[in-house]
Structures are given as structure tokens and as C-alpha cells.
């Protein structure tokens, strides 16, 4: 059974989950905890809250590792820049500077590198591949972009290579290639309005841009493919642990359950669940509550307030039990609700203590 301590024996710890559940904070706290265990640790964050960013010294939102010192230990923190990681990848695989310049200037590429669903996710994976190969860190904690579905996260490498390998060049020369097997005269007639429509979308000369892009990519597809396969293997390696972060709201828990299913179906090693913002006010014997100190009105307010929070506590207990039942995954940590999200290093230390 995995424990939260076992995470620090992994090389790669990936925090996943829906938006707004505390992934970034959890990832930062795990990195801090790793540092406290004297492991060389780094955290890659995605869009951290302003004040957390300040606390981490990440104000420049930089891809260059920055050292965050806590007491006598320190860990590195990096913020992901999707576009720049993508650009760096192009520069790495392009056969010469002219080709990479041409790709970087392509309009479709600019759209694609910023907007294509999943490219942020892909680039997160890409960046950590690079970092792991530098052997600079023993533990790398990754905060992923908020995804409603695990598949957005994990299909990303393939989505990019699919597009690049999709016979786009031949498509422009012979649109019938799109309908392999159909008589080509029929296909041409049938496809004409379609191609026109595709061109019109967004006014990009989509096919032209794509052909241009594909021509530029021609010699790089191999490299991309190999890299995508490496990343995909890396994510399934025994030295990798996925941590599913969730809050106990019924709807969020449903999302977490399907996330977990998608991860395990895809063969990704899920170490367990971190439940964040959990209320735990135990049942109270109201008879034993002293009356002397307060007037009746305040007493009834206090009781009502307690009952409300206890109601939520019960709900949390129920949903977390359901989560465990349906996923069979261990609860690595139950982090109680704190009123102020950690936005300073001291706050992060407190959060890390709650986590561990």
C-alpha cells in the first residue's frame, strides 16, 4: 500500500485532478517535503496563484529553475511556459536554423502551439522529460494544467504527432487522399466544398499553412515520434507516481472517480489520492455544552453553526468513502480545510505539515 512517504522514493510525482482542487499547492508542498527529506527536489508549477508565486520567488514565471530556500533546505521551482517549451522543441529537432525559423513564423504553428487542446499538457510532459535527463533532481514534482479528463492530459503527445504525421502534404496535392478508397473523381467533387469551408475557417489559409508546416516538420516527425514514445513510457514507469488531488464536494469526487478510471485503464501508476479541504467536525453531545458563559441567543447561534459544519463533515466523510470504494486507491492524505489558502512560504510549510 502506497503511503505519502513512498512518493519521495519516486523520481517523478505527477499531481492531477480537476481545476481548483489545490493541485498547485499540493505539488509545492510535496516539493518542500521532499527537500526536508534531503532529496534534491524540483517542482514544475502551472499558473500558480500570485501570492504563492511571490512566496516561491517565481515572479518572473520562468522556465529556469529558481531556488526556494526554507530554513536550511531548498528546492527548485519552475513555471511552465507552453509556447517556449514548444519552440525549444522545434529548435532541437529542426535540421537547420532556417527550417526552425520558418516553422516558428508559421501562423498555424502559432495557433497550434498556444491553443491546440492538450499542448500545455504535452509540454508539461516534455519539460519533465528534459529535466529527468539532466539528472539534476532525485524527485521531480509536477503540477499539471487543470483537466476535466485524464485523456486530455495523456493523449496530448499523440495528438501533436498525429497532426504532423497526417499526410497533410499529400492532402494538399490530392485532396482525395482524405477519402482513401473512394473513386478519386467522386472524392474531388465531394470534397471541394469541404476544402473551401476548411479554408474559410478563421481566414487562415489553413491547408496552405498546414502544408507549409508539414513540409517544415518532414524531417522532424521521426524525432517527435520517438520523443512522444519516450514520454509515454516515462509516464508508465515504476519510478513514476500519479497523485490524484480532489476536494470532497460530491461533484468533484465524481470527476476524480472517472479520472482515476481513465488513468488506470491507460496503465498509469496511481499512487493514491490526496483529499484537500476536508471538514472533520465530529458529532457533538449538545447536552454537555455549558450554558453559563453565553446568553441564549449566542448559544443557539453557536450550536447552529456547529450543526451546519457537522453536516458538511458528514458529507465529506460519505463522499471520501465512496471515492475510496470506487477507486480502490489509498488515501495518501486528508488535508483539513484551512481558511486561508497558503500564499507564503510559512503558509506552505503549514500546508505541508497537514499533508504529511
Amino acid at each position: 500500500m502506497a503511503t505519502i512517504e513512498s512518493l519521495f522514493r519516486k523520481r517523478l510525482v505527477i499531481c492531477v485532478g480537476a481545476g481548483g482542487v489545490g493541485k498547485t499547492t499540493t505539488a509545492a508542498a510535496l516539493a518542500l517535503a521532499g527537500a526536508l527529506r534531503r532529496r534534491r527536489t524540483a517542482v514544475i508549477t502551472v499558473d500558480p496563484a500570485r501570492r504563492l508565486k511571490d512566496a516561491l520567488g517565481l515572479d518572473g514565471l520562468s522556465m529556469e529553475p529558481q531556488s526556494v530556500a526554507v530554513d536550511s533546505v531548498h528546492f527548485d521551482a519552475l513555471a511552465l511556459d507552453t509556447k517556449r517549451t514548444f519552440d525549444a522543441l522545434i529548435e532541437r529537432f529542426a535540421p537547420n536554423p532556417a527550417v526552425s525559423a520558418r516553422i516558428l513564423a508559421n501562423r498555424l504553428y502559432q495557433e497550434l502551439s498556444n491553443e491546440l487542446a492538450g499542448s500545455a499538457e504535452y509540454m508539461a510532459m516534455e519539460k519533465l522529460h528534459e529535466l529527468l535527463h539532466l539528472h539534476r533532481y532525485q524527485v521531480l514534482v509536477v503540477d499539471t494544467p487543470p483537466s476535466a479528463h485524464a485523456r486530455d492530459l495523456l493523449a496530448a503527445p499523440n495528438r501533436v504527432t498525429n497532426l504532423l504525421a497526417s499526410r497533410a502534404v499529400s492532402l494538399l496535392q490530392a485532396p482525395a487522399a482524405l477519402l482513401s478508397g473512394a473513386p478519386s473523381s467522386v472524392a474531388r467533387v465531394a470534397l471541394f466544398p469541404l476544402l473551401k469551408a476548411l479554408q474559410r475557417w478563421t481566414g487562415l489559409h489553413l491547408l496552405h499553412d498546414l502544408a507549409d508546416l508539414a513540409a517544415g516538420f518532414e524531417h522532424m516527425i521521426e524525432g517527435f515520434h520517438t520523443r512522444a514514445e519516450e514520454v509515454s513510457r516515462l509516464l508508465r514507469a515504476p519510478s513514476t507516481a500519479f497523485v490524484l488531488v480532489t476536494t470532497p464536494e460530491p461533484h468533484t469526487v465524481e470527476t476524480a472517480i472517472s479520472f482515476h478510471r481513465e488513468l488506470t485503464d491507460g496503465g498509469f501508476p496511481v499512487a493514491g489520492i490526496v483529499a484537500n479541504r476536508v471538514l472533520a467536525f465530529p458529532r457533538l453531545d449538545e447536552e454537555t455544552v455549558p450554558t453559563a458563559a453565553w446568553d441564549e441567543r449566542l448559544r443557539s447561534k453557536l450550536l447552529r453553526n456547529y450543526r451546519e459544519l457537522q453536516e458538511l463533515s458528514q458529507r465529506d466523510r460519505r463522499t471520501l468513502r465512496k471515492l475510496q470504494g470506487e477507486t480502490g486507491a489509498p488515501l495518501l492524505a486528508v488535508v483539513p480545510a484551512v481558511t486561508v489558502a497558503p500564499t507564503t512560504l510559512a503558509g506552505l510549510e503549514r500546508f505541508a505539515r497537514l499533508l504529511l
Binding site: A18, G19, E111, L163, A182, A197, R200, W201, N305, R318
Partner: protein, 331 residues
Amino acid sequence: MQAARLLFVTGKGGVGKTTVAAALGQYAAGLGHRTLIVETATDGRLAYLFGYHALGPAPRRLRAGLDAVRIDARQLVEGYFSGLLRFPMLSKRLLASQTFNALTAAAPGITEFLLLEKLLGWIEPGFGVRRRGYEVIIVDGPSTGHALKMLRTPRALATMVPGGPLGKTARRLLALLGDHARTQVVLVSLPEEMSVRETIETQQVLEGDLTLRVARPIINRVFPRHFSATEAHLIEQNGELDGAAAPLLAAARFTIAYRREAERHVAHLRRALGASPILLRQLFTADVRAADLERFGRRLGKAVLEPVDDSRKPKAESEKHRTGHDTHGDH
């Protein structure tokens, strides 16, 4: 017939967009408007709130005067392109083609545009349509980033493709979205830093760049203000945290701190946007009930569906008075 009104609900993931859309829809229907809620997510939350298991591509009656429909982006794209091809055998091949899927996934704006075009069909049914159109359409939109992309599409398209049916549709959409008397974007937030910051940035883009009308911001899940300032002081000064009353005091301190934190974010939002947020209280039940939807609907509906008034600067005094009691003694 008066032109239909469009409310486009968006916000960060998990802030309660669907609850807001459902409450507004129910309220509008209660006023006697023929109302349609459009679900764009695939999680079935909307149907769940109304006790149904699934919505489909055709509007379905939820209750008197209130319909709901779910639109699936993938289906729209497939429908559009098979329509262009006209040969079922070919379109089947096309839709299965990896190249086609890669192209449509990469071509920016296709799904967003088709989704908006679909809305247009419900809002302006056109001539020769027998059924009466809807009077209020509420879109339970995607989360902020994606919603912004969607709302930008018509303008991008109208500029780039001035002619043809595509350009015409883009211009109709632009006219609809830009009509402040008809269309409002409804931003939902939580009383937390990240969420409030995103709301402020989004509103600035919506009003500034896109010149859309944004309704008063909504802050969901605000803890109640159970205790007066004097009581809060008393509770926080009381050191007795180990006796029998300890759990009561700890719980009260928790609520007070949560409320204080929420008020800080509410104030931040109010200052940044110059508009008083509408507060929805934290619920203390396992899930949203019909009665909660009704109460939320009344509060939201009065602010969002009130007769159009372009001079919508809040009156400072009465707003202050109202928000002070917003989530207080509301049972």
C-alpha cells in the same frame, strides 16, 4: 415578439456555473418566459440537478416553460462537414479519417463557431419555423479560457471572411452578442484569490476588448455571517479551547475566519469592477436541492434578468445595505 435574451454563464472550473444556470433558468421560466438552458459540458450535472439522467441534442422539457439541451462539439463538427459532403458513404469515411480529425482539432474556432451558430438557431428561429422561439436562453458555458475563445470567434471570422454564408452568420452572431439589451455574460466566482483574479481579468477582456455586456459578478459558496462583530470578538478572545465548549468555539472561529476571508475577496472584486457582487451562500446540505435553486434563482434573477438598464452603476448605499445581510439569517 420581443427579441430573445441570451445569458452566457462562465467562470473557473468548479465554481458552480451549472447551479447558477439552472437557478436562472428556473427563475426565468417562473416569470413565464419560454426558457432554454444549453448545457455545453459533458458531465450531465444540469440534468442531475433537475432529476433527469441525460440530456440530448434536441431540447427536452424539464418543467413547465423550461427546456434543456446538451450540445456536443464533436457532433456539431461531424454534422457540419457531413452536411457539406452530402454523400453518407463519403462522410462516414471522412469522419473516420485521422487527417480530418487532426485538421478540425487544429483549425482554430471551428467547434466554437458551430456551437454559437447552433444557439442562433434557437434564438432567431427564422421565417417558416412553426414553433415559437425561446424568450430566454441560458448557456451553461465552458470554463473561462474556452468561453473567451468562443466569444472571440464571431469577430475574428467576420473580419477574415466578410462574404458568404459563413461571414453572414458571423455578423449575425456579432450583432446578437454585442447587443447589450439582449446578451449578457454572467461570471461566476468563488470567494478565493485565484477565482476572483480570473473573474477580474475576464471581465476586463469581455468589456474592454470584446465590448460585451457583463452582468454583476456572482460569488458562490460564501460562508454565512452568523456572528456579529461583538460576538466574533467574544468568540475569538475566549481562550477556553479545551473544555466541553471547545468544539463549538473552534467551529465558530472556523466560520468567522472563512467569512472574513470571503468578505476580503468580495471587497476586492467590488473595488476592481466597480460593481457589487451577488452573493450565494455556502450550502450545508449534501447537494443542491430544489429549494436552494429557487432561492438562488430569486436572488440572481432580480439582478440579471431585471429590465435592461444601461446605467447599471450600483447605488452604493443600498448595495452596501443589501450585501451586509446577503447571506445572513437566510434559512
